[in-house]
Structure formats: C-alpha cells, structure tokens
Point group: C2
Chain length 359, copies 2
C-alpha cells in the first residue's frame, strides 16, 4: 500500500496524479540519486528538425505556430519521439509575457523579434497590465495541457519564462542588440522607472509560471538571456532581486535559473531558492561546482561541438560528464542548439550522455 508521502512533493513523480515513466530530470533537479544523467536541449523543439519546419510552414509564421495550442503541442512532442530526450519543453517564446502585458511584438525573418512600441515613460508603464495568464496566455496553458495528455507520462514537461531583466531589455530597447545600451541607459538614468517596470514584469511572470504548473508543467526554467550585458553591481541591483522574488514564490515544482554570461553571479544565484543552476559554455564545470555547492547544475556543451564529427562529439561529451559527475547534474548545451545542426549529431550527443553517465 502506498503511503501519502509517496505523493508528496519531495519524493513525487506523481505530479497531476500520473506517474512519470522517466522522472530522471525531476530526481536530478531535487538532488536525488539517479542511475544516469538526464539530458535535454535548449531549442530542441525547433528548426533542427525537418518535422518542425513542416509544421512551421503549415502554421505560416512563428507567432501563428506559438499561439496555436494544437500545433505548439505537436512540435513540443517531436524531440521526445525523434531525439530521445529526457524532457519536453513547451514550445513558446519568452516574449509572450510582454505581449500579455499589452506590448505586442512581431518576428522579422532573419532579424528576430521587434516591438513596434517600446516602454519609455512612467505613463507607458501604467498603461501596461499585470498579465492574467488564464486569459492573456490561455494558448500556452492549453498547449501544456495537450502535451501532458499526449506525453502520457513518458517524460516530464518543462515550462519557462524570461527573467525580468531580459524581458525589460526587449520592452525598452524594442529589439535584440549586442549591447542593449538603450535598456541599460534606462537603468543608469532612471532607476525608479526601471524598478517599477521590472516589478510589473515580475508580477506577471510569477502568475504565468504558477499557471503553467497548474496546467501541468513539472519543472520551470527562467532564462536570463541578456544577463551578460550587466556589470556585477548592476546585476545585483536590477536582475537578482526579481529572480529571487520568483524563486521564493514558486514552491510547487523545481525551478532552474539560467543566466547566460553572468559568470560573476554564480555564487549569488547558487544561494537562491532554486533547485537547478544553468551554465553556459564559458563556465568551467569544476569551478562552478565550488561556486554553487548543493545545487544541481545544468549544461553546458558549446553548441558548436555538434558541428564536429561523431568521434569528437563523443569525446567532448565524455569530458563534460566526467567533469560534472553523475549526480546533481542535468546534461544540456550551454545555449540553444543552432538551427543548422544535423539531427544525427544531436542524437549522437544525447546517446553519448546516456552511455557515459550510466552509474
């Protein structure tokens, strides 16, 4: 007879009342013993797969695909079936949050996202709303429910959002940038404005992440994609406090914080109330273990390794799994997989992790 504690959060793989057949990701995130390292890839549901490109063409545009729950669910499931990853991650975009706050974006071919309007004044902030996930982001929640039904417990599903500072970058700069100097100018010239907007993004993000858990997400990841443009001092003032609020608000499922480029903040991020810390490929595995004790680490193969031949990919994966060790570790790339990567090389990476990490 199963005791109640078998259904409790700490030991549970019975989320949403359904036992996961493969719960390696969740056990590794919680610091429990695993028989091998779980592996998945950022941007695994994407352009590397011909099957994705077919659905994307059918949808007509990236945004039409992301806002169609049936199609978004379909591409979310593809890498589970085709690549053998240990987790699905919902197909979506971090910019759905500003859109839900009242700031729509467009996706320009070969240029990335563009916001026709940007946030420049206190009045602009006041015109934005705190996103109501149930109404403004229902299409993502619906996609999560479809994925959970169709996964049928095979692997866990990861939900995600952008970290507030990264969302702030897009809302104030209006587009991608190497320096995000417009966004950073706001931090230096008007910290009151900046904190006010960051708080509104944070409030929207917490509600959205909680709604993803209710819809079925088994683990959540925060992407602070532009963390690396900030000085250590600015990061402590304008990014970490908002990530901390999110970490302290989410107790339902494990949370991963991935702050690309914020090598200087590893110790501080490791002290947050999160389960997993993501690393990019600039960050040394052993040094990161010292800076971030008692957390699970995720990462961090250079995506360009997947351009190499099969033998070299295996060697690099072997070195990586050896450096991180088999426990408290989730294998991944150090950034999203590049669109022109050969899916067979991706499969080689995934199989090599499974082979070399078996206890």
């Amino acid at each position: 007879m199963l005791g109640q504690d078998q259904f409790s959060k700490s030991s549970s793989s019975y989320l949403c009342g359904m036992k996961l057949k493969n719960d390696l990701l969740l056990r590794a995130a919680r610091g429990e013993q695993v028989e091998r390292t779980p592996v998945w890839m950022m941007r695994q549901a994407g352009r590397i797969l011909a099957e994705y490109r077919a659905v994307r063409a059918q949808a007509g545009s990236f945004i039409k695909l992301a806002t169609n729950p049936e199609l978004a669910a379909e591409v979310t499931l593809q890498p589970v079936d085709l690549l053998g990853v240990d987790a699905a991650i919902i197909f979506s975009d971090i910019l759905v949050v500003p859109e839900a706050m009242g700031l729509p974006y467009e996706m320009e071919e070969n240029r990335g996202p563009v916001f026709p309007n940007i946030v420049q004044t206190h009045r602009d902030i006041e015109k934005l709303r705190v996103a109501d996930a149930q109404t403004d982001l229902a299409y993502v929640l619906d996609a999560i429910k479809i994925v959970k039904r169709d996964l049928n417990g095979r692997v866990p599903l990861i939900g995600f959002a952008g970290a507030p500072f990264t969302i702030f970058c897009y809302m104030t700069e209006g587009r991608g940038s190497k320096t995000f100097s417009v966004a950073k100018k706001a931090l230096y010239t008007d910290p009151v404005f900046s904190h006010k907007l960051l708080q509104k993004i944070t409030d929207s993000t917490i509600g959205y992440l909680k709604a993803q858990v209710v819809a079925g997400a088994d683990l959540l990841q925060l992407f602070d994609s532009w963390a690396g443009v900030l000085s250590p001092q600015q990061y402590r003032e304008f990014s970490l406090p908002y990530i901390k609020q999110i970490c302290d608000s989410i107790s339902e499922v494990p949370l991963t914080v991935f702050a690309k480029g914020a090598f200087f903040a590893r110790h501080d991020i490791g002290a947050l109330n999160c389960a997993v810390v993501g690393l990019d490929w600039n960050m040394d595995a052993r040094e990161s273990r010292v800076l971030i004790p008692n957390k699970t680490l995720q990462g961090n193969l250079d995506p360009c390794v997947l351009y190499a031949d099969y033998a070299q990919i295996r060697t690099e994966v072997k070195n990586m799994t050896h450096a991180f060790g088999t426990q408290r570790y989730i294998a991944n790339l150090g950034h999203g997989v590049y669109p022109d990567t050969n899916p067979d090389k991706v499969r080689c990476f995934i199989e090599a992790v499974k082979e070399f990490s078996a206890v």
Copy 2:
C-alpha cells in the same frame, strides 16, 4: 649630466629621441610609480566628437578616412586636444590586417564590416600573403608618423591590432555575428585549417606591430574582441598560443592584451609576456588583481555609466579608482565608448579619474 641609462628602455620616456611631457601611461604600464592614474578611452577618436564627424563627412566614408594618413592623424589628435586624455590611439581598424593579407572588406552603414570573400579552404589560405606592413599598411604607418610629429611629445601614442582569433572570426564568418558559429565550426571541424590561418594572421600581425613601433607607437594593444564566444578549452587552443607568440615577439614597447569576455582566461593572460591586461566591465577589479598579480590592469567602467548624470558618473569613477588602487592601473572604459555619448560626460569621466586618483 644625464647618464645613458636615462635613455634606456626601462626608464625611458625618450622614445624616438623625444622626451614625453606626459608619460603617465608608459610608467603605469611598466609598473613604475605614478602621481595619478593615466586615463584614455577605447574609441575616443570617433563619433562622439562633432569634430570627428566633420572630418568623416569630408573623407566620404570610414574606409576613406582610415586610409588617408593626414585625415586619420587629424582625428587621432582630436581627443588629446578636446578631452584631455593621457594618450592618443591611432585611428584605424583591426580589419586592415586581413585586407593587407589580400582579403578586402567593406563597411556597410548600420551593419558594420563585411567581407565579400571569406576564407574556407586551404587553397584560400595559400592565396593570402603574409602582410608586408611597409607596403600594404604604409598608410597607417604614415598616419603614425604625422601624429607623432604633431603630438610633439605631449602624450604617448598607442598602436594596435586585432588578436589573431578575432581576425580569424571575420575572415571565416565574413561579418559580425552574435555567436560566430561559422568561425567556430571551422575550429571544431578543421583544426589544421584553423591553425594554418591563425599562424598566417599572427605572422602578419607581428610584422605590422613592429612596424608601428618603428613609425613611433609608444605602446601597443591587442584587441581580442570575440574572445568571449569560445569555451575555456578552445580559447587555450586557438587564441592564447597566438597571443603568446605576439607577446614574445614584441620587446620594444609595453603591450596590452584586452580579451573581451575571456574572464576564464585572466590567469593565463596574466602569465603572458605582456605589460598590461585590459578588463571589461563584467570583470571585478579586486578579483582580477588576485588572478593577475604583478601586471598593470586597464579598464573597466561600463560605457553606459556615461549616460548617467554627472554626480553618478563621479561616484562610479570614485568606486572604480578605489577598487583598482592608484598604482599599476590605467583607467579606461570596459569597451569602446558608445557613439551617442555626450562629450561633456566623457570629460566628466576623465576629470574624475584625474581627481580621485591623485596620490
């Protein structure tokens, strides 16, 4: 009576037979005592100054300006007269080296440099020549000579070149990129090709830097602008060995190595045969002192600080000079000054360094 040793390299401010009136930069670089911290700015000769924009308009294009010795000299001198910096840096571009090797580039408005042809095969490398600075880069050397004459010993003149890996990035990728995945693909798929091209760039660069010294450069800086796209392991294999060759070849004047984003390589760079290590604004001053003992450090104010008000700029400069200390330190930004910076804010930065660093 002056002894010969007063003209020797180690104590000399008599380079090219002319005593420098302000040799703070050179003394700081050599680790000699200074009465205050020298200060200059990357991209100080550039679009921040209306006087630069006027000469640029007269020249007709960036490349026409850079290849016209009289005009290049004129814009090199402007920040010495207008901003009060403690050094001039020759107005040029790191991409003059690939051009001198036989791979011309164009400068597209709002897009940056573009190479119509890229290097993809061993045959492409063989078609390139090792640059002969005296013929292929005479226009830069002529500009240096004019600047030296017109400076008349007021401040030292800095010469520069791109580090071989950064030049390799442009020669193989053909343009700027956030990831330089094409360039990095070459490293992983064809290391023999990569090392062969890197060596040819290195040979060209050594000759070019030595020619700059003969023409009058008092200090040299190597810019490894794209260091941050590499993993620590790739950096050790494909960038550091070539920087080391250059450091070991230049004994005439002090050399600065600035590897943006290579926080992970600070210890290794500090062990090279260079006088100064440049830091970007992600790199903490005190931590960098520990990682790089016994070298002069240069940097590292976030260029976006210059968007703040005067009081805040002064506070940030005060914190920076306090963190680095007054000796073995050259004040600078952590990257090039942004083109839309108010020159009065730049002057505030420069004056604040002079005020707060006075011993």
